[in-house]
Symmetry: C2
Subunit: 194 residues, 2 copies
DNA sequence: CCTACCGATCGGTAGG
DNA sequence: CCTACCGATCGGTAGG
């Protein structure tokens, strides 16, 4: 990687961190530059505007997220369905707790700024579709009968996932664990015939 | 109401609207003043700073929300438990779809700005506690047996509620209705013995 | 409730 | 990648 490319990547990483923690308007180009040890105008050697930089960060975050979601397709199909579904839900949430990506997606996916609204929601919907695909794969390869039709089972899963997502950052990982446990217990009882 | 008090209320209302739609940093005092037909410095006749104005808006929003939550305690106890719980979930969400309050709570409750973080989360937790109280009241006065213990049933309800909350503004009310239907079906099946 | 005004900071450009 | 610089806008104050 060339020196210039290296700097560009550093800018993207620091911008991701600052945009996630402080927000778009609250983060100045000077903030970003300082954390990369360059001067603010130098950023324009790599990005044509603050907006453009932000859009690049969106791509980094969402591409990485989509890659992670798709990597979850490798779960062991011999495992019981419950285990597969639970692991998926937990992994998706754990992913958010581990890095700034989760905070970024929460901040800009849930309340997208006007300027980037369409772009963000498009990416956000794409990730939901990918998760739905994973769910259909798991559910269809299972012989278990479900109390509700597949669409309902899947949509409901997404809703619980989004609910847990809400607790990111505001609550400790321990509090999250408790809520996951409760939500999962009811969800699983709700879709299976006992 | 005196002329001055009237203006103060107008400022609070417009500030609520703009802070909800655009965000704290993206809303200037000039924006607020213009929409109230006064000049920006005049705001200082009523509030000592932008931060102070914002805190006042927080109080308006959360007090109104708490009042609404408590008003939900008046549901007809003779109705079946399912109906009572469903109505509560739907009413809480409908409340958000009706006014800017929902957008405000979503924006600042889910990703609170550093400066107001503690204050906002405190108010937010208070509202969750009030909702939990309503749930315990409904569940305890019911003779129905539940598959999980009360804490689990309640926490899970909150999680579904928060999931649906997530769809506010990003999705149409119709899309919300579909997701509510799916989430509710599974939730209800999950807590009751069939 | 207004006019006049302030220092600080913002995103961005020119030119190297 | 930097220095020097720009116009615009910000929250806020003085004094009425």
């Amino acid at each position: 990687m060339s020196k210039g490319e290296e700097t560009k990547q550093k800018i993207l990483q620091q911008a991701l961190m600052l945009f996630s923690v402080k927000g778009y308007e609250e983060t100045s180009l000077k903030d970003i530059a300082t954390s990369v040890n360059i001067k603010a105008p130098s950023i324009y050697a790599y990005f044509k505007s603050k907006e453009s930089l932000f859009e690049n960060v969106i791509d980094v975050v969402m591409d990485e997220y989509l890659f992670f979601i798709r990597s979850q397709a490798d779960t062991d199909v011999s495992l019981p369905t419950e285990k597969q579904l639970y692991t998926l839900m937990d992994n998706l949430n754990k992913y958010f707790y581990k890095q700034n990506l989760g905070l970024f997606i929460k901040r800009y996916g849930l309340v997208p700024p006007e300027k980037f609204r369409d772009y963000l929601l498009h990416k956000y919907n794409e990730s939901e579709r990918e998760i739905r695909k994973l769910l259909y794969d798991i559910l269809e390869s299972s012989s278990k009968p479900y109390k509700s039709d597949l669409d309902t089972v899947v949509t409901s899963f997404i809703c619980v996932l989004d609910g847990l997502f809400t607790y990111l950052v505001n609550y400790s990982e321990q509090e999250y664990e408790q809520r996951l446990k409760a939500a999962w217990e009811v969800y699983w009882q709700g879709i299976t015939t006992s």
